[in-house]
């Protein structure tokens, strides 16, 4: 276990964290403001990946693909909100969970119908291939580094959007008292639609950036979605800051656990036991972390005060 490998894995974990943040941010906004549990958020991530891969197929340009896929997921999000989710705001969480579960089934099946082959893949653009030399001889792929930078930029932009703009003010106001907001003459319906579209865009962006690494496939959203739930629980529902820190913690711990837990266990256990327990334990690690957070801080690490 060299220190170079260690840093590399740490960065990989950080990159997973960024991806989780893109999903968790939308989930937590939508939940904080509209009180809506949206299981289909992972489907929007999946659709982002498919749009990106499809547009790349048509235009042969990564940049064009992204530029087209971003508004596409935004519009798709708005469409989903207007057609189905709008009726769910006044329902209880159980109905929301079931109806959005139905949406997942539909999206996964649509994807299988439209792209019947085993998924849709696209290459990393050539100008982003290769790796850069970070400090101390640590090489890291440019593309993954770019994902991290984009994610950080999104985090900063969201922070300003929610904290410093008029729209952010409305979002925060909506989270604390939506009736009052409506009574003051704000078109709450439109605000909800916009916020949902924004969440869809963020999830889709995550999917687009992962498309060259993972290749788009039906059902790819679900495992990420459940991790994003864990992130929200750790970070505290409704808080962007909590979502960011929770996402980074979850991403790093999950990735590091998979790479180093068996080495770590070797210190206490005989070799064969460590080898058997390593993978099993590392897959459970972030859930154990979640349980621990819940036991000591049931509201999450950074419960929302402002939304």
């Amino acid at each position: 276990m060299s220190w170079v490998f260690f840093t590399e894995q740490f960065l990989n974990g950080f990159q997973l964290g960024i991806l989780l943040f893109l999903l968790a941010a939308g989930l937590t906004l939508v939940f904080g403001i509209m009180d809506l549990v949206n299981l289909a958020h992972g489907s929007l991530y999946m659709m982002g990946a498919f749009f990106c891969a499809q547009f790349y197929d048509w235009t042969d340009s990564f940049l064009f693909a992204i530029v087209l896929a971003v508004p596409a997921t935004f519009l798709l999000g708005i469409l989903v909100e207007v057609v189905t989710l709008r009726t769910l705001y006044t329902r209880n969480h159980l109905d929301q969970v079931l109806a959005t579960f139905g949406l997942i089934l539909i999206f996964n099946e649509i994807v299988l119908l439209v792209w019947p082959l085993e998924g849709l893949s696209m290459p990393v653009p050539t100008y982003l291939l290769g790796s850069v030399n970070l400090l101390f001889g640590i090489e890291y792929p440019i593309y993954r580094l770019l994902i991290i930078l984009v994610g950080l930029a999104v985090a900063v932009a969201l922070y300003f959007l929610v904290g410093r703009t008029r729209m952010g003010m409305l979002i925060r106001a909506g989270a604390s008292n939506r009736r009052m907001l409506g009574a003051l003459g704000i078109d709450v319906k439109r605000l909800y639609t916009l916020v949902f579209g924004l969440g869809a865009l963020l999830a889709g962006l995550g999917g687009m950036m992962m498309a060259p690494i993972l290749s788009a496939s039906s059902g790819m959203g679900e495992s990420v979605l459940i991790l994003a739930f864990v992130v929200i629980v750790i970070g505290g529902i409704g808080s962007i800051r909590g979502a960011f820190i929770g996402a980074i913690i979850a991403g790093v711990i999950d990735t590091m656990g998979r790479s180093f837990l068996d080495v770590f266990l070797l210190l206490f256990l005989p070799a064969n036991a460590a080898e058997a327990a390593g993978p099993a334990l590392s897959s459970m690690l972030i859930y154990v972390l979640m349980a621990a957070v819940l036991t000591f801080r049931p509201q999450g690490l950074f419960p929302a005060k402002t939304g």
């Binding site: 579960f101 897959s283 459970m284 979640m290 819940l294 036991t295």
Partner: protein, 320 residues
């Protein structure tokens, strides 16, 4: 309780017909020249047991568990793993499997029940995924591919599960037993506290009921009944796999309960029956049957209040 007492209401007739179908299927199916239906109904009854157990916490207790299928997996895997190691005695397998699912429910419930609402949904889902990933990562027991069970549980020659009719009636007996157990639990003082805590936990607490403990006990009972369904499934299919507890299974269980009618004794059985027959029929038409099933699910959630039970007429406002 009204729903058991009167057989003349549409609700009573419907319940009688379904239970009757289940009871006489081993005779009916060969007569109709469709012996395959025996297995179909055995599967339906196993899912019905799981749905009945979920209904106990979801319908009566208001606990929206999105990870209930994991107890199905735990019950099944205990049977599978013991059989893998050569322990096929049902008198050892079954109690241990029930114990394991109860223990898991105790640990998960103790943590989940500290929270409410949407947290509860997410956390139950996350714990179920944890068990799912655990089952995938253990290569010794088949990981992704699952574990084939060579011999069904043996009960020292008393009950021979290898006989098709015998295992069918064992499952039927377990279903009736679960229904009776839930009926008794729900109408006991214990059940009243749990149901009271669903509508107003603070008030139940204020009049002196330690609701956390009551709800946890209820959660464990539900986990164990679902574990029983897992035991039966492992025995019927002679196979367990991580797919048994993959999260869509939990979603489907919730849908069965909602489709049948939450918080009604018989609803989950009707829900399981309709769900599985519909899934069977639709998947016969097209492999993309989810494209029809998804909208159906959404429409049921949006427009059918009270599920099948609600369609059978208004519920008498009788006490309880």
């Amino acid at each position: 309780m009204g729903e058991l007492a009167s057989l003349r209401t549409p609700r009573g007739i419907f319940a009688t017909v379904i239970l009757g179908l289940c009871a006489f299927m081993p005779v009916l199916a060969p007569a109709l020249d469709e012996p395959f239906y025996i297995t179909v109904f055995a599967r339906i009854m196993i899912w019905a047991i799981a749905a009945v157990s979920l209904n106990l916490i979801l319908g009566y207790g208001g606990m929206v568990s999105f990870g209930h299928a994991c107890y199905l997996g735990i019950g099944g895997y205990v049977v599978g793993i013991m059989a893998f190691h050569g322990v096929t005695n049902g008198f050892i397998q079954w109690p241990l499997a029930l114990l394991a699912s109860g223990l898991a429910a105790l640990v998960f419930g103790a943590i989940c029940l500290r929270t409410r609402g949407v947290y509860f949904i997410m956390i139950t889902l996350a714990f179920a995924q944890m068990i799912y990933y655990l089952s995938i990562s253990v290569e010794k027991y088949g990981s992704d591919d699952g574990l084939t069970i060579d011999f069904r549980s043996e009960f020292g020659g008393l009950i021979d599960l290898e006989e098709r009719t015998v295992i069918y009636y064992v499952i039927f007996f377990c279903l009736v037993g679960s229904l009776y157990l839930v009926h008794r639990v729900v109408n006991s003082r214990f059940g009243m506290v749990v149901r009271g805590s669903k509508s107003n936990d603070a008030r139940m607490h204020a009049i002196g009921h330690p609701t956390y403990r009551y709800r946890l006990a209820c959660f464990v009972i539900a986990g164990m009944i679902c574990g029983l369904a897992g035991i039966l499934q492992a025995n019927l299919e002679k196979f367990v796999s991580p797919d048994m507890m993959y999260w869509p299974r939990s979603g489907e269980l919730i849908f069965m309960v909602v489709l049948g009618g939450m918080g009604t004794l018989f609803g989950p059985v009707a829900g399981a029956l309709v769900f599985l027959l519909l899934a069977d029929t639709l998947s016969g038409f097209t492999e993309h049957w989810h494209i029809i099933f998804g909208p159906f699910l959404i429409l049921v959630v949006l427009f059918v209040h009270g599920g099948i039970d609600g369609l059978l007429g208004r519920r008498e406002a009788a006490g309880g």
